[in-house]
């Protein structure tokens, strides 16, 4: 009897341990209650932010972030979904983290614009970077985008294909190639539409840059967009994604081809119009101002708050072709310990910065209270 007990007990202990691990894994998503369906109250339905939940692992922090976005009065978010994380092996999908983010966003009444990128090792040559994807991998990327579109049917309606392809570092440190990017769109667009016809495909998301012709670092965004059209991009996207950083300029500084400022968006819009694509809307998926005390492209905190509110006003009242203005970045999961920290609205510890309160008052129809 004792000998039998001695053999059985370790087995039972192991079984109990396995059950505990399995059950705790299964209940992972339920550690945080979703609560009742929320909706965003705002005077400006175009307000949005780019969240940074890609590497936020704790469910309560994901929920708290999205709750604070909703409470600020912004109905839109852009979030980055890593291909490498969600398809760790060809044809093997893991949507657990993406489900968590999307479901909490939807629960808070937010509309998600999903940005796709970050190439898994299996889809690129050895020793290449995670932003490297040559033409041999476009069909793999298209299959992933289609799987994403199918999985999130009814929960996500907007997909951004790649990010800032006019910068060499975002194009796998290769010379930028508008025709190559259009070829990517040509493969991805029909695959996504076949999987989920309601999904709206966003293209572009170009970095505003004055890179001179032949620069090894990148290509002027206005030239790149024109080259995209010349390469036949128009049928392969529904909405143009635009990045709109203000640097040290106020949001009313006039657009100019030789300046990077907020209204440079108008020049991208002009390129669309010249190419007969004016019927398509624009979504600003990154942008805003920085208030680092030292960085040369930063402004003072009070300026940043005033400029941010004015930018939301411009999008609402002056740019009928803009559907959403999503500013970089709502909160980081941990300090970047660089000037990047001064783009945020909320600290890592969820302490709202004064700009958060000012934008929140604006969204509630009150005076912003910026000196």
């Amino acid at each position: 009897m004792t000998r039998t007990k001695g053999r059985v007990m370790p087995g039972l202990t192991l079984l109990a341990l396995c059950l505990t691990l399995v059950l705790s894994g299964r209940s992972y998503r339920h550690w945080v209650e979703f609560g009742p369906q929320q909706r965003v109250l705002t005077v400006n339905p175009k307000m949005g932010v780019h969240t940074r939940l890609t590497d936020e692992v704790e469910p309560w922090k994901i929920q708290r972030t999205l709750e604070m976005v909703r409470q600020m009065g912004a109905p839109w978010i852009v979030e980055y979904f890593l291909w490498a994380a969600h398809e760790p092996a060809r044809g093997v999908f893991d949507w657990s983290h993406a489900d968590l983010v999307v479901d909490h966003a939807v629960n808070q009444g937010l509309t998600v614009i999903a940005r796709l990128g970050y190439v898994p090792e299996w889809a690129r040559p050895p020793r290449s970077g995670h932003l490297y994807l040559d033409e041999t991998g476009y069909d793999d990327f298209a299959r992933f985008a289609a799987a994403f579109a199918a999985h999130f049917r009814g929960r996500v309606r907007y997909l951004i294909i790649w990010n800032e392809p006019n910068l060499s570092q975002e194009w796998g440190f290769r010379p930028v190639d508008p025709a190559g990017y259009v070829e990517m769109l040509r493969r991805v667009y029909p695959a996504v539409k076949a999987a989920n016809p309601q999904m709206q495909v966003l293209a572009g998301a170009l970095a505003p840059t004055l890179a001179p012709p032949g620069s090894e670092w990148g290509m002027d965004d206005l030239i790149y967009l024109q080259r995209m059209y010349e390469a036949g991009a128009a049928p392969y996207f529904d909405i143009l994604a635009v990045h709109a950083y203000g640097w040290t300029f106020d949001p009313d500084a006039p657009a100019s081809p030789d300046a990077v400022n907020f209204r440079r968006v108008e020049l991208q819009r002009a390129v669309m119009e010249r190419n007969g694509d004016a019927a398509k809307p624009v979504m600003i998926t990154e942008g805003g101002w920085n208030d680092h005390p030292r960085w040369t492209k930063a402004v003072r905190p009070a300026q940043r708050a005033a400029y941010t509110i004015r930018a939301y006003e411009i999008a609402l009242h002056e740019w009928p072709w803009v559907e959403a203005l999503c500013l970089w970045a709502f909160r980081y999961p941990r300090p970047a310990a660089t000037y990047q920290d001064y783009y945020t609205f909320v600290g890592v510890d969820f302490q709202p910065k004064p700009i958060y309160a000012a934008v929140q008052r604006y969204a509630a129809g009150e005076k912003a209270g910026v000196p």
Partner: protein
């Protein structure tokens, strides 16, 4: 360990005789490995290069007066950091070559040995100490509490600071507190106000200079700003003084590559000498204010 002893006891006599030698060999190998990891035997190629060429290449973003900016007439960098670099180089008997590098690229440039050092009003960043090393501080740029100079001596504050500056402020300060809206000082003041049971009223201004002007104008009793803003304000009109301890320290330091131990020692020795000679104070008086911390 007991298993090792047991193994040795069971081993043949020849192996037992070799055991002390094997142990000694293992200790030596481990010590060499540790020394290599800590850079003990590494040649400091940055310092060697300075010695060979007679040139100290210093990275700088000349866009932050009065520490560094370009002189509009000569196009050359001028400022506190420029003079500090020249003073250090003079002690070494070498020439300074300033290399213009963007603020956000400076540490990477040092880590990659593109320059020997960076001297550009750079704070100490503990998260970067695997790639670069930071000298002893040469100036304090952190948050300070400020009062009118004539009231500073009588200001009832404790001589030592508690670990939590917001709590220290809440317990030791009362009245109207001016800050730059949205700044680090604003965040600290709001945290203190939440614990001060109504004894602190915030006076929000659009800049640090405006917060200090509010104290001078009698619109506020105190202000929280960074020490550099205060020094520059006092340069124009020395009406204000620091009271209490530094609320949140943020000193500037000189950056060298992680494997440049000799260069770091030489920089620290030069800074100590400049401090004891009074030259560092002269530079503060020239570019900031005589009592800059």
């Amino acid at each position: 360990m007991s298993r090792l002893i047991g193994f040795l006891r069971a081993a043949p006599p020849a192996t037992r005789r070799l055991a002390p030698l094997l142990l000694l060999g293992a200790v030596i190998v481990a010590a060499l490995g540790l020394a290599a990891r800590t850079g003990l035997f590494a040649r400091d190629r940055a310092w060697a290069h300075i010695q060979e060429t007679g040139v100290w290449r210093v990275g700088m973003d000349p866009s932050f007066p009065p520490f560094e900016n370009l002189d509009v007439t000569t196009g050359q960098p001028v400022g506190f950091d420029v003079d500090l670099a020249q003073a250090i180089a003079a002690r070494w008997g070498v020439r300074v070559e300033f290399v213009g590098i963007g603020f956000d690229q400076l540490l990477d440039a040092v880590a990659a040995h593109r320059v020997h050092s960076a001297l550009s009003a750079l704070p100490i960043m503990p998260h970067r100490t695997r790639e670069v090393r930071f000298s002893e501080p040469y100036i304090e740029a952190g948050l300070v509490l400020v009062a009118p100079r004539e009231k500073a001596a009588a200001f009832p504050v404790a001589s030592s600071q508690r670990a939590e500056p917001a709590l220290w402020l809440a317990e030791n300060v009362a009245g109207r507190l001016a800050v730059e809206w949205g700044s680090e000082g604003d965040a600290l003041a709001r945290a203190a106000q939440a614990q001060a049971a109504g004894r602190l009223q915030l006076v929000l201004r659009e800049s640090g200079e405006a917060a200090l002007a509010a104290v001078v104008a009698g619109e506020a009793d105190l202000a929280i700003v960074d020490a550099i803003t205060l020094a520059l304000f006092n340069r124009e009109r020395p009406a204000l003084a620091i009271v209490g301890p530094i609320l949140r320290s943020d000193p500037y330091a000189i950056i060298v590559p992680a494997d440049a131990g000799e260069l770091l020692s030489q920089v620290n020795a030069a800074l100590a000498a400049l401090r004891s000679d009074g030259i560092l104070d002269e530079l503060k008086a020239r570019w900031l204010a005589p009592d800059a911390p």
